[in-house]
Amino acid sequence: MLARSAQGLYWMGRYLERTKHVCRLLGLQTAALVDRPVQEIHSGWSRIYNSMGRLPPGGSLERDSTDEFTLADSFTLADDLTFERSNPDSVWTCLSSGRENARQMRHCISPEMWTRLNLAYLRIQKLDILEIWSSSPESFYVETAAEMDTFMGVAAATMYRDEGWHFTEVGRYIERAQLAASLFLAQLAEDPATEEEAAADWTNLLHAYSALETYQSRYGIEVRPTQALDLLATDPLVPGSLCRSLDVMQAELVSIGSGPNAASSAAAQRVAGRLRALIHYEWPDAQDHKGILERVVQYCRDLHDMTAVTYFDYTIESLPMR
């Protein structure tokens, strides 16, 4: 496959995964605005911005603010994370970038995939924060996240399982793993005043990963941070768990096979293996889960760079020509 096409599909996978991730978080966050305490709302915004490594507009969040101020502030923050063109992590930017990559590689994806994605893109083009805020903002986020899920479902049903598919999946799962690890780190960095607050935060997180029911059936109704983190990190049956993302990603890399440079390919495979080992073998006995999560983030970044060097931007001197 043409290296640039593979790269475009890889980025498409990454951007659309990020779109879904941000929508999921914002869907929960805007739902919380209806009836949750100010502290919990504040903690939610703080977790989102910290996990992205970004500062909110204005530079910081007002921790001890009134109800009214928190709601007004939430409007600004939601706009920044949804429609702000200059924010590389906003829903608008991620969806537009994913769609732009798909547009350029449209000949490599199925027509059904393109139409689904284009419809989602056309929909968001017609909206702004005032419009979604005036009705039910959480519906917008839930629907947009569902559109991303539908897109991947359509992809699974219609896309030829060639390299294009594997690179899309690698992009998607590197992104998913990196976002999840960053989010868990941001949650660990929060310092809830009471156990109830901590339980509420982790409940939200379980909810974001569609894992609350699984948690409750396994551990009971009371949410404990350590158990929640364990589930989200290590359960291969939870769709968004770190364990599952890293397993799929490594399998997809194996399917792609070697790039033109065998040494570079092997190095990338080793990093993927190391990533899996962190969760499969180190995590269960480790005390320092924060340290492991930090390494996951770093290895994901390394793997991203190595994928580019191995398959997309390799040097061409002394390569065999076929």
Partner: protein, 477 residues
Amino acid sequence: MDFKGYDMDPAIYDEMFQSRDEPRAQFQQLYDTLLGVSAGALNSIQEQVTRSFSNEGISFTVYGDDEGTERIIPIDCVPRVISADEWRFLDDGLAQRIKALNNFLEDVYNDGRIIEDGVIPADVVRECPQYRVEMRGFNAPHGAWVAICGTDIVRTNDGFRVLEDNLRVPSGVSYMVANRKAVKASLRRVYRSSRVREVEGYGRLLLETLRELAPGGRSDPSIALLTPGVYNSAFYEHMFLAREIGAELVEGRDLLVDDGFVYMRTTTGLRRVDVIYRRVDDDFMDPLVFRPDSMLGVPGLLHAYRLGNVALANSPGTGVADDKSVYAYVPHMIRYYLSEEPILQNVETYLCRRPKDLEFTLDNLENLVVKRVGESGGYGMLVGPHSTPEEREEYGKQVRANPADFISQPVLALSRAPCLVEGAFEPRHVDLRPFILHGQQTRIVPGAFCRVALRRGSLVVNSSQGGGGKDLWVLED
């Protein structure tokens, strides 16, 4: 929905009607269907067709447009219908024309017999900016200098006329297929009963043509479509065609030439490319030979082509044959190379490089269309009857300063076809661009991109000037 308010002009050929309320035979079924459809239903069909273009992102870029890079090409839901006899005539004429044009290209880059024999003046050819000295002495594989041609044809009261041949990187074929797909889905019953010939096989014919050009007759050649990139106005079409023929869609930066062979950068290393359907203009194709500042091309590509290690469709240098001055000589080429009379006629053309033609042109600016020989896409021309005295004065000065850069033609009464405009049928001027493929044999898909001048009274059908499209139905025998 009726045609009561339809504004027929007896002086202009109407595609649907031979006289008021009397449709031509090939339109009869469509006409009957339209009469039986309510205005509301037809408007819904129009909306559905337009929406399908928007949803599928079938777009075109208008240069200088501030609306953004993607603009949806307007499509009218009422098809234009061509009878089997009419198509047979066009098909024969187009096949004859591409044969003569390829003979001409092979000749002017080699022996130049047509010039020696005084059929075409040497300066018309050699002074043409599209004449590429770099191609002298080259023999195109199978004589296919032009493998893909899009010829613009209009119908006047005197019959079909060729307006121009597009022999470099003609576009529009994707809209032919897209228009068909959208309209067919909306006018299902009448489409089926009308027995319309299909255009969806264009991709297969294109692939067969490109395969025939493969160097050394390689049986499973690697084919790539070279695009200038996503900002090109026809990027949608490049993507569409790459998909249709299963080719990689490459940009110049994806290719490199080593030891006279062309390679593309894949995920597993460099892979040889045998055939390139290039949609990059000559000027930008190879910075070592043509424009050195081009970032879109591939250094060394022409060298590889001349060595016969890669096939290019179309060959560099074909622009000399669709130059507006050379165009006037196409009928002469047909007689000279094929010893046949031209089936399709040209539009009468005055070459301002000839003193008599210049004088005539300047004296009759208000009645003529004057065009710059180097421009295309409807740019840089003066439509006499629609111009102001000041515009004519200014344009006349330019013509006088560089007569060889201009040609003029009579204003044609382009035929009109009914279009749905704000809920009613209104006549609009139309043309058609069929696509001719030429490898070891000539292939023509029975259809065309039918262009419509959407503004009332306008004669400019170019997509780049805000024109739209229509589906064109060629009926079976």
